[in-house]
Subunit: 356 residues, 2 copies
């Protein structure tokens, strides 16, 4: 890693830079996204507007809390890093954000998740059928934006985005399948592959689309895809660490929330695979029925200690650093000038910052 990522002053500067990039991407992409969503058929537009936080369940306008928009920011920042014109890639950025949100809508239906971004999920408000249909229409809308985009890179971008959706679906399938297996029937390689498909693929695709819209060659496009994938995996590892040891005040969830629901997150699976006595204790705790019991919080705390003793926390943090280092390598391949690469670096650091 470069100095900017390790000294505190640099971090603060990059934090500001990332926040500025994200805010600027929002300002660019939101109008395009709103315009696109306005072309959805009325009934499904309401579901989409609710999901993005732009409307309440009753259809009245809301201030909007549509997530960090990290993916559109990656598209636009990648274009800029490679000397392209971000303004010409706004549709591609909106398409990536639509794909991300279509998968969230469908994942929430499949996982029966009832809360997203501190609000009831769309399917709990509009029913599963309308959430599925709104997701389907949003995937179509994403491809329509690219198909109608006169930019010469639009069809390459459309093909990459479609391939990415297929990978996202495979990742979600594996995620559901792993949740139904016993704690000793899940390998770390499977979980890493699942995290790459579910989280890495779209972050990689966002960066790759930026490269496509900058008009660079296949090698740089693939390198930027690799950068996004590796950073995405680092992000997932950190997110999993926070899911166990995160401060409830910051996460908005009770301590050890992921353990209470027996989630097979990466630090847990690494711990289970360690062959240590703590792994055996963890397997025993994960074999018990999840949540609900009076000893739930105490069990979660015991599980957290077991993951830590078995080396799961250290492994996750080391592995996250390793992935970030690989991400930097890919970034340097695609964008050798460190100054030009600064924006992408700031975004990657921002999404994986929460460890520190």
């Amino acid at each position: 890693m470069t100095d900017t990522t390790t000294d505190m002053a640099g971090k603060t500067a990059e934090g500001c830079e990332a926040a500025e990039i994200l805010a600027s991407a929002r300002a660019y992409v939101d109008p395009e996204l709103r315009r696109a969503i306005d072309t959805l058929p009325g009934s499904l537009r309401r579901v989409a507007l609710y999901h993005f936080g732009w409307e309440r369940a009753d259809g009245t306008p809301a201030s909007g809390h549509a997530g960090k928009a990290i993916r559109p920011a990656l598209v636009l920042t990648a274009v800029r890093a490679l000397g392209g014109e971000p303004a010409l890639a706004v549709r591609a950025a909106a398409a990536v954000e639509l794909v991300h949100n279509f998968t969230l809508l469908h994942d929430d239906v499949m996982d029966r998740d009832t809360t997203r971004r501190h609000r009831p999920t769309a399917w709990t408000v509009f029913g599963a059928a309308d959430a599925i249909l709104a997701g389907d229409a949003m995937q179509a809308l994403a491809q329509r934006l690219l198909a109608e985009d006169p930019h010469p890179g639009a069809s390459v971008a459309a093909a990459r985005l479609a391939a990415c959706v297929m990978e996202l679906c495979a990742g979600q399938h594996t995620d559901c399948a792993l949740e139904h297996r016993g704690p000793d029937e899940v390998t770390l390689d499977e979980c890493l592959a699942m995290a790459e498909a579910k989280t890495g693929a779209l972050l990689g695709c966002a960066c790759a689309l930026g490269a496509v819209y900058a008009g660079v060659g296949r090698e740089e496009i693939d390198a930027l895809d690799g950068f996004g994938r590796e950073a995405g995996l680092a992000f997932q590892l950190i997110d999993d660490v926070i899911g166990i040891w995160g401060d409830p005040e910051h996460t908005g969830k009770p301590a050890g929330a992921d353990l209470a629901v027996r989630k097979k997150s990466l630090p847990v699976v690494a711990a289970l695979a360690s062959g240590t006595p703590a792994a055996a204790e963890l397997a025993e705790l994960y074999g018990r029925p999840p949540g609900g019991t009076e000893g739930g919080a105490e069990n979660a705390a015991r599980a957290a200690r077991a993951v830590e003793s078995a080396g799961g926390r250290d492994w996750a943090q080391t592995h996250a650093a390793d992935r970030m280092s690989r991400a930097m390598g890919q970034l340097a391949r695609a964008v050798p000038d460190p100054e030009a690469a600064g924006g992408l670096l700031a975004l990657a650091e921002f999404v994986t910052r929460r460890t520190h």
Copy 2:
């Protein structure tokens, strides 16, 4: 209508022609479709292969019974009718068939339908989550085929197909919504709009894509879209008539199956809107809880008589003929040479034949 559509000899010849066109389209498109489906991630490929009838639930090969492939046949026949080269439109034909089947997968989940093409639906075999994911991946695959197609019309086709998916989703939403309303809360206009979105839109899009791949102008493209839409609506009206008065030996369903489940099909809604005494009787019968009771068959027979007395059957058949006549008008606009239009005419007659 031309003579060929009204004299019996012509009908038989066209029946043969349609059967030949369908078989030839299958032979063209199936290899492309198989190749495309083979690029799906393994877990979801299995769901797709099962849905298309190419594999059994246990993954062993099956002979395949993937429907009539009317939509790919429309694409290829439209290309030929307008002087294009059908071999260059095979990907587009496969994309349309993928979209059709992705919507069937999702509709079956939403409607909780348990049988399709005489086999258990995919969601009953693989679970709702995998059926949703396989559908999502198939939509992406359809767009990927077009995005990777070097044909100059591919991006226009991709945009039209994406817009069509949005319309299909809106149609399915309306269908679900209407099923939950009382028999007196549904208008005929709403039902016609729903049928156009759910059935007409993709048949129109298939024809339009053929025109796009033939390289003709916007006016001909839109006229062929109109032809497919109108023929699609005629088909739906005839299908609804068969759902009430069809011969159980041919339909494979008990007589009056649609009435037993209180389906608000077009002849029923037309009857309900007639203001006749039979309409009042029908509304009363539709107000009773569906199926299950001992008098179910007798009630369905009474409802069928009421629909007929209220003019629902006549209306549907007249309206179907009217739609077919409009379809012919659009076809003549796009393809003035009757000989060149013969294949499309044969297909339109074939799908609406079942009345006779």
